[in-house]
Structure formats: C-alpha cells, structure tokens
C-alpha cells in the first residue's frame, strides 16, 4: 500500500492509528481482572505497533504494523472456590496494569487532538489560498 499523498490522507491515517491504540487500551481495561483456568488461556494486554510510512514528497505517515500481545505472565491466584479453578485450586488472572492503560489512552487522545488541530489549521490556510483572487 502506498503512503499518504496529501496532508488530509496523512491526518486521516494518523487519526485511525490513534483510534486503534485507544481501542486496544479500552479492550485491555475491559479485560482487567478476567480469570482463566489455564495459564495459556489468560488474557494478555494488546499493544499496537506503529511504523513510519513514506508518502509522496516530504510526507511521512504512520500505520499500525501489527497488534501484538504483550509478553507478560498472568498472575496466579489460589482460589479453590472459584468456578474456573484448576485441580490445584488456582486461577490465572490477566496481567493488565490499569494505570498504564489509562496513560496510554490519555496519550492517544492527546495525539489525536493534536493532529485534528494541525489539520484544521492546514485546511483553513488552504481555503484562504483558494479564496484569493
């Protein structure tokens, strides 16, 4: 896929990359504390990986290269009464750090807003150029 050809495409791609990031953080928060009966079955946080994408002339956009699972070990808890407990009475809880996810979300929203701001300024200037006669 070719890179962005103008400032509008650049902004659009950057904004969708930030939404992917925000969705991933939201999924992680939703799954904070969810339990599983096996270590493999436990939820691991999603992390989008951003990569630079060269466009025409001086533009370089951003794309989501992959959404990977974070390599963190689930937390083992001894809860024999839990319906999902294995034969040892253990459950595996997803290792989601709520603070980290909140910060991730905050940063994504700030960067999204910055891009919108830059885009609206660029649009304004382009319209002024168009109106000149």
């Amino acid at each position: 896929m070719s890179g962005p050809q103008n400032i509008f495409q650049l902004a659009q791609r950057a904004m969708s990359a930030q939404s992917v990031r925000m969705n991933a953080a939201a999924s992680n928060l939703a799954n904070a504390g969810s339990a599983s009966s096996t270590e493999e079955g436990a939820y691991r946080p999603l992390r989008p990986v951003f990569a630079e994408e060269l466009g025409s002339a001086s533009l370089s956009g951003v794309r989501v290269e992959a959404v990977r699972r974070a390599d963190v070990a689930p937390i083992r808890q001894h809860q024999p009464g839990h319906p999902l407990a294995d034969e040892n009475g253990d459950i595996w809880v997803s290792p989601v750090d709520e603070n980290e996810e909140m910060i991730e979300m905050l940063e994504a929203s700030r960067q999204y807003r910055n891009m919108v701001e830059a885009l609206s300024t660029a649009k304004q200037l382009m319209l002024e150029t168009m109106r000149m006669k």
Binding site: I7, L10, A11, R13, A14, A17, Q18, R21, V49, F50, A51, E52, A57, S58, L59, S60, G61, V62, E107, A108, R110, Q111, N114, M115, E117, A118, L119, T121, A122, L125, E128, T129, M132, K133
Partner: protein, 115 residues
C-alpha cells in the same frame, strides 16, 4: 513571468506549504518508535532556490533532522511542544505570505483596470 510578478512570495508560499507537510508528518508520528523528526530550514531553502533548484528540490536540500532536548528511550525524537510551536509559526508565515500576494494582485488588478 510569475517570478517577476510575485517576487519571492510565490516560492515562499510553496516552501511554507512543504514545511507544513513535514511538520504535520512529525505530529502524525509522535508515537512511532524510532521516528526522527525533521524540519525544513526555511532560509536555507530560499537560498537553495536562488541557486537554480526548483522548489521541491530546494525544500529537500534544506531538510534537517531535529535535535531533541531530551531523547526518548524508543528512539523517537518528536517533541510535541517544539512541533506545535513550529507549526503555528509556519502557519502565521503562510498567512503573511498570502497577504503579500493578495496585496500584489490587488495592485496589478487596479493597474489593469486603470482606476
């Protein structure tokens, strides 16, 4: 023809537009690991334009990597404050150049009409 009519302002407007794209790229890549922020040295680009390059080449020749005040661990050198300030400064420059062009066109139109 346009060079004679608009003087430096035609070139300046094109360079401002190019610089706006570069700065928007930096803002878009604020979270990309390993991304190196770039900027166009405006006066260097104008000087390069005088040596006979076209505007696109002049902009590319005056492209510089930004030196970060505090490099981050993932190798990204975008600093939001710096980029936003540069973007605002560039937008004001663009609007100013546009105003100069508008004045010039008005003058010439008046001369043509013979008012």
């Amino acid at each position: 023809m346009s060079e004679g009519l608009f003087g430096i302002h035609g070139t300046a407007l094109q360079l401002r537009g190019q610089r706006m794209e570069v700065l928007a790229s930096n803002i878009a890549n604020a979270a990309t690991p390993g991304y190196k922020a770039r900027d166009i040295d405006f006066s260097a680009a104008l000087a390069a334009r005088d040596t006979g390059m076209d505007t696109g080449q002049a902009g590319a020749a005056a492209m510089r990597f930004r030196i970060p005040t505090m490099p981050s661990l993932d190798g990204n050198t975008v600093e939001m404050g710096t980029e936003q300030t540069a973007f605002a400064e560039n937008a004001v420059g663009y609007a100013t150049t546009l105003e100069f062009l508008r004045g010039r066109i008005e003058t010439v139109t008046r001369a043509i009409r013979g008012e």
